[in-house]
């Protein structure tokens, strides 16, 4: 019941803050990775190069699907913004359901931008069903398809090092985030601008996906403070021998 109550509280907060954010958009602190992403999108459209978006292999039937859904929300905005480009972005996934959703998201992004004829089914790809086959299928795209920037966002593990290495070899930008701690450590070493921890979930807000994404960040902040207070209070009570 406590969990359901917390969930209800989060839902009410999200709704209330979304309505508030529609009236007064949030001022977000600058995150270098997202600034680089916005520059890379503009550069890709102008120079006629491709954007490669890798959504990882997050199974939507598990908790790992959260990061995949963030990637899809960002993909929708990027598809709209790159619809004017001669070379549409390529999206790769390591999960079949995610690959189908990426095609759907690309299609709807182009339709929203009034460029439905730009959509090609082959731009949303399943590149492998195991971690390493997914990495092995993704790496050649960075070499073969004139990619100028790689956006790797989703559930990836240690295999992300191979994707990061392929990106580095082609001298293309790499904006990378994962919900996996091993992949975060790899991206810290391998990406120009890594995203750490929950910064992954700020993607929607930073690419202009709407008030609900900005409100989500605020709800996360509120809950983070509540958790900090709960941990400190619990430690104090334990120290005093009251629990």
């Amino acid at each position: 019941m406590i969990a359901l109550g917390l969930l209800g509280f989060a839902a009410v907060l999200l709704l209330a803050l979304t309505f508030w954010r529609r009236r007064s958009p949030a001022i977000l602190r600058p995150i270098d990775a997202y600034e680089r992403l916005n520059r890379a999108v503009g550069l890709a459209v102008e120079s006629g190069t491709r954007l490669h978006i890798s959504l990882g292999r997050g199974n939507l039937l598990t908790a790992r699907g959260g990061s995949a859904l963030v990637g899809l929300a960002m993909l929708r905005r990027l598809a709209e913004r790159t619809s004017a480009s001669d070379r549409p972005p390529v999206v790769t996934s390591g999960d079949a359901s995610l690959a189908i959703l990426s095609q759907d998201t690309l299609h709807s992004g182009y339709r929203a931008a009034g460029a439905e004829e730009q959509y090609r089914f082959s731009t949303g790809r399943l590149t492998g069903l195991t971690p390493f086959s997914y990495a092995a299928g993704t790496m050649p795209i960075e070499h073969d398809e004139n990619v100028s920037a790689n956006v790797v966002i989703g559930d990836l593990g240690a295999e992300s090092a191979l994707i990061a290495e392929a990106s580095d070899r082609e001298n293309s930008s790499l904006i990378a985030a994962s919900d996996d701690l091993a992949a975060q450590a790899i991206f810290y070493a391998a990406a120009q601008e890594p995203l750490i921890g929950e910064e992954l979930f700020a993607a929607g807000a930073y690419v202009g996906a709407g008030a609900a994404h900005e409100a989500s960040l605020q709800v996360q902040d509120i809950f983070r403070w509540l958790i900090i207070i709960a941990i400190l209070a619990g430690s104090l009570l334990k120290f005093l021998g009251m629990i």
Partner: protein, 206 residues
């Protein structure tokens, strides 16, 4: 007005709410409905794998047809897929030939990629300073080396102070990791709520 996006949004949101309530509320028929909907989702995910493989083949066939870079690898992939799929259907997955295909091809290839990964990680660590020369990068690399030395077996036995290093790893590093995981859990929770409210609809041409 397009009807498909509306129907798909109603189906997704109602299924999501029923499954969520089925977890927390044990009033019939919610738990049974949760199990039923989860089973349907697993079935659909199984079918999605076939659709995904079809997509993989279609992309490779297009590569071959338009003679793009790497088309030869596409031919190899499609042929291997057809042969293993055909033999798998005829002989079954437990047949010795199929075991050989897995043990002699797939396992060694993945092991080779794992070995490349180890080299890649060392190379990435070396290049870290070329990319970002700041205090955090120095700390990151020093911490990684010290923790590895403390954890791995060395020819000279345990390094001096290994217990203290492992204590730090347990108290500080795991604490930090838990902090990151709490942040990720909160982000996942809010992402789920946005999908339940229909704000994010990555389905049905929305």
């Amino acid at each position: 007005m397009r009807i498909v996006p509306i129907i798909s949004a109603i189906a997704a949101i109602s299924a999501g709410i029923i499954v969520l309530l089925g977890y927390f509320v044990s009033i019939e028929p919610l738990p049974d409905l949760r199990i039923l909907l989860t089973d349907w989702a697993i079935l659909i995910a199984g079918m999605a794998v076939l659709v995904g493989i079809f997509n993989l083949v279609a992309v490779q066939m297009e590569k071959i047809r338009t003679r793009q870079k790497g088309a030869a690898y596409g031919v190899l992939l499609v042929l291997s897929l057809i042969i293993t799929f055909g033999f798998g259907l005829l002989l079954g997955p437990d047949h010795p030939f199929m075991r050989v295909a897995v043990d002699a091809v797939i396992v060694p290839v993945e092991a080779a990629l794992m070995a490349i990964l180890a080299v890649t990680l060392i190379y990435a660590s070396i290049r870290l300073f070329r990319r970002r020369m700041d205090v955090m990068s120095v700390l990151f690399l020093i911490a990684a080396v010290i923790f590895m030395l403390a954890m791995m077996p060395t020819p000279f036995g345990p390094i001096p102070g290994d217990r203290f290093i492992l204590f730090i790893e347990g108290a500080v590093a795991r604490g930090g990791a838990r902090g990151l995981l709490i942040g990720i859990a909160l982000g996942t929770l809010l992402t789920g709520l946005r999908v339940l409210f229909g704000v994010d609809r990555p389905y049905g041409d929305n």
